[in-house]
Amino acid sequence: MSGSPTFKSLKRFTRTQPLGLIALVLITAMLLGGSFAPQLAPFGPLDARFDAVLTPPNATHWFGTDNFGRDIFSRILHGTRPALLLGISTALIGSLVGAAIGTASAYFGGRVDAALQRANDVLLSVPLIVAALVVVAVLGKRMVAGVDVNLMLAITLPYIPVMARVMRTAALSVRVSPYIDAARALGFSHTRIIVGHMLPNLVSPWLVMISAFTAQTILLEASLSFLGVGVHEPTPAWGLMLSGVSVETFTTAPWVILFPGLAISLTVFAFSLLGDALRDALDPRTRH
């Protein structure tokens, strides 16, 4: 095991990127905390206790209770799973579709490239949150297996042009490499060249973008919930815990907004830091 290349590169990553290691530890802890939330949380996320409304943090309720007397610590723990699920799924789908478009655009060039570039310009001209707001408003809510698919779509769609642009730039520099010329000269099919020879060299920008998108989704979902169009009550979602009544009472009961905000910040922080460390570790120019 210790001799395998994966283990070796992981070891080098942890040595040269101490902040990246911290990020990895944080993310692992969140994944575990989210997975075992039902076992770890002292209270149910929906258990209302009207005799303990807006209790400040104490020994029983570590992070206090909200306006329904629900335990904030338990709600945050339960909120980890939907946050990470939405974050990672939107990042994966958005980056994969965007990467396919960007790579195709760079590889084929000419008219295909020009057309895709113009389409990209159009989609990029509307700010991310504005686009997401409009898509959510148009599509409404559709729950499938506890996840709002339309919310997912609204966040994923604006990622595609961003990813396509990043991938196109990266793919353009790969396309002119001699080994791609060699593959073409050997008469390989387009699919084989793209999948077998170009994509493996585009993994690092892709990984960096995935962590960036995951971070961005968690922030975006929080913003959308704050504006009242994201996740809906009574789901224990972090963004939702920062909106509605919490906003009206935050000057008298600051713990209601303090801890969910910390959870969001810490998660986004971990994913951004990981993306940063990955970029440094994978980019040969900044490695030394």
Binding site: V122, S125, F226
Partner: protein
């Protein structure tokens, strides 16, 4: 040069037309009738004839193709249509609320740059040391904190320390200038800090690249003071890629203000958009999306021209 300008103008118009078309048809998928929604959402009733009359008034009785032609035709004449909800022209609605948003955005941008330049330079010159890591943690934190949450924390801190927060109600600059400035300044700091994080990280990496160039070594070799090499020789060149991103960010910044304006009760276009969406005010949503797109393409054009002016290499190509 003429060819370049012509091509850019064609792209400019194409992008705006495509956004206009996209937003028009997307909004037509919205379930329910926006005119009916206006009269029935508060529990009120409206007869079929009245509804028909109102729909005719706003032109929503026409087939979609006609509505589309009217929308595009209106855009060509700078006419964005009429808001269903307020019954005022959309351009008037936007015009009366655009000023405060622009003031907020520009203040935030200035604060963002004032923070970003020293942080970026510090990160680059102390690269690889613990100081660089500290700067990195600072900038990543800036990007990780939800702006509306930070806004609430700032308000809490103000309450706890000075026992005062900027008034929720809008004040006019002429009446109470200090209060007005505080109302702009606090949200601008919140947004500006976030913006500075992105710029500082970018500036750091582009400065590192510039510092390894030959002309920087030459400057050092001929005995130019190290601080002068950084500020005069390197920074001027490192700012170029940063300018591109600042331009793109400025357009995105207006989007980010959607949330910030909500927290601070600022009646800008961000809040207008949220209201328009909750009222299904189609014409108003369309008008606002067009405004965002227009700002984006204009800024893009400015950035291109500015870059050509600053970098002779771009001009030649």
């Amino acid at each position: 040069m003429l060819k370049f300008l012509l091509r850019r103008s064609a792209q400019f118009i194409f992008t705006l037309w495509a956004v206009a078309t996209l937003i028009f048809f997307m909004l037509r998928v919205l379930p329910g009738d926006p005119v009916e929604f206006k009269y029935t959402s508060d529990g009120g009733a409206i007869t079929a004839e009245q509804l028909q009359a109102q729909r005719e008034r706003f032109g929503y009785d026409q087939p979609m193709a006609i509505q589309y032609v009217r929308w595009i035709g209106g855009l060509a004449r700078m006419d964005l249509g009429t808001s269903i909800w307020s019954e005022n022209p959309v351009s008037e609605e936007i015009g009366s609320r655009f000023g405060i948003t622009i003031q907020l955005a520009v203040t935030a941008l200035v604060i963002g740059l004032l923070l970003a330049i020293p942080l970026g330079v510090l990160g680059a010159i102390s690269r690889g040391t613990w100081l660089d890591q500290v700067v990195r943690v600072c900038t990543v934190t800036g990007q990780s904190v939800p702006s509306f949450w930070l806004a609430m924390l700032v308000l809490l801190a103000l309450l706890a320390t000075v026992g005062w927060i900027p008034s929720i109600e809008a004040v006019a600059f002429k009446e109470r200038p200090w209060e007005y400035l505080a109302q702009i300044f606090v949200p601008a700091v919140v947004v500006g800090w976030r913006l500075s994080s992105v710029n500082a990280r970018l500036l750091r990496s582009s400065l590192i690249e510039v510092l390894s160039q030959d002309y920087v070594r030459t400057a050092h070799a001929k005995g130019v003071a190290p601080s002068r090499v950084i500020w005069r020789h390197a920074l001027a060149n490192a700012m170029l890629p940063t300018i591109t991103v600042i331009g793109i960010e400025f357009a995105g910044l207006l989007g980010g203000l959607v949330v910030t304006e909500q927290v601070f009760n600022i009646n800008g276009i961000g809040r207008l958009l949220v209201q328009a969406i909750s009222f299904s005010d189609l014409a108003l949503i369309q008008g606002l999306v067009m405004l965002f797109a227009l700002i984006y393409v204009c800024v893009g054009l400015c950035v291109d021209v500015l870059q050509a002016a600053l970098d002779p290499r771009i001009r030649v190509n």
